[in-house]
């Protein structure tokens, strides 16, 4: 349900950027969302449709790039995907892992006209 607050932020970031460039309309918003954030794309699209209704972002397409969870072993330095949340290094058995990606939550670009 935190998608509502998140979508409000997406819309205001996009509107601000578009206004600064004197855009008439926002056609597309590209997002980067890490797997770990538990943010559901479909919910964002749903809230976005409602929130953007009377703005220049109405009808804009939301394109989401999902970023998988990647961890780095502090011992051997190997980076690998860990979408199963198994953070133990298969090589050295070290428990702690540095989370390299999967927590992203940002607007990467917008398309305007």
């Amino acid at each position: 349900m935190h998608e509502l607050g998140i979508t409000e932020n997406i819309l205001s970031i996009a509107l601000e950027q578009a206004q600064q460039r004197g855009a008439q309309r926002i056609l597309k918003i590209r997002l980067k969302i890490g797997e770990m954030t538990a943010v559901v794309d479909e919910c964002i699209r749903f809230y976005f449709e409602i929130l953007s209704k009377d703005t220049m972002a109405a009808g804009a397409e939301i394109e989401v790039e999902n970023v998988p969870i990647k961890v780095k072993c502090p011992k051997c330095g190997k980076t690998r995907e860990a979408s199963d949340y198994n953070f133990i290094c298969p090589q050295c058995g070290v428990l702690s892992a540095e989370i390299v990606s999967g927590r992203e939550l940002y607007v990467s670009s917008i398309e305007i006209e």
Partner: protein
């Protein structure tokens, strides 16, 4: 025309959280953000902690709930200042709600500020408040599969409190299994086993907290 933005979606919240953190540091206030599912025992845990700390420390509480004032009233009965935030539907507290609530507290007169987040194991994880410590409570009747189901929360918190440990023999909750699965997600997690009903384990937790407070401050 495509425009590169590269802006964090929650940057507005992060900026206010940093502001809050600076203020807390200036005033020497240690801040704990407590998160759990509804009914895990956040308020009872705060009351137990207050009971042990209130003679040595000045503690205040911010209570976050979707509606009602019942939790803040329970805290005030214990003699601690409490501010109730009603989120009116929002499933988590954000940094701005905390900033506004601070207008109702005198930070010069507080050593420790405890924030009780809205009962929810997903959403509060994304919203930093400016706290020093993120703590989560998991109670035994909820089941021992929670680290597998809500991994994000376990990776973000530095303290895990296993509450209702007195009910252990009435549930199939396996403490060892939780310790293992939680530690796999977060090797530095501090784990405490407590019962807010019997008081078991509360002293161990409070002693740890006092040390943490003294070191940080």
């Amino acid at each position: 025309m495509e425009i590169k933005v590269l802006q964090k979606i929650l940057e507005a919240n992060e900026a206010i959280a940093r502001e809050n953190a600076r203020l807390f540091k200036d005033k020497g206030v240690f801040v704990i953000n407590i998160m759990s599912s509804p009914g895990a025992g956040k308020t009872s845990f705060i009351l137990r902690t207050l009971e042990k700390l209130k003679n040595d420390f000045k503690v205040a509480v911010i209570e976050g709930d979707i509606a009602s004032k019942v939790d803040a009233e329970k805290i005030r009965e214990q003699g601690a200042p409490a501010v109730q935030i009603n989120t009116g539907g929002a499933c988590h507290l954000d940094a701005n709600m905390i900033k506004n609530a601070l207008n109702l507290l005198n930070l010069d007169d507080i050593d420790l500020l405890i924030i009780e987040n809205v009962g929810n194991l997903v959403c509060p994880a994304e919203f930093n408040l400016g706290e020093d410590l993120k703590l989560m409570i998991l109670s035994t009747p909820e089941g021992d599969d929670k680290p597998l189901k809500y991994p994000q929360m376990f990776t973000l918190c530095s303290v895990l409190v296993l509450n209702k440990i007195d009910l252990l023999n009435q549930t199939n909750f396996n403490v060892q299994k939780v310790r293992e699965s939680a530690t796999k997600l977060n090797a530095n997690l501090q784990i405490f086993e407590v019962s807010c009903t019997t008081g078991q384990g509360i002293n161990t937790w409070v002693t740890w907290l006092k040390n943490k407070f003294l070191v940080t401050r």
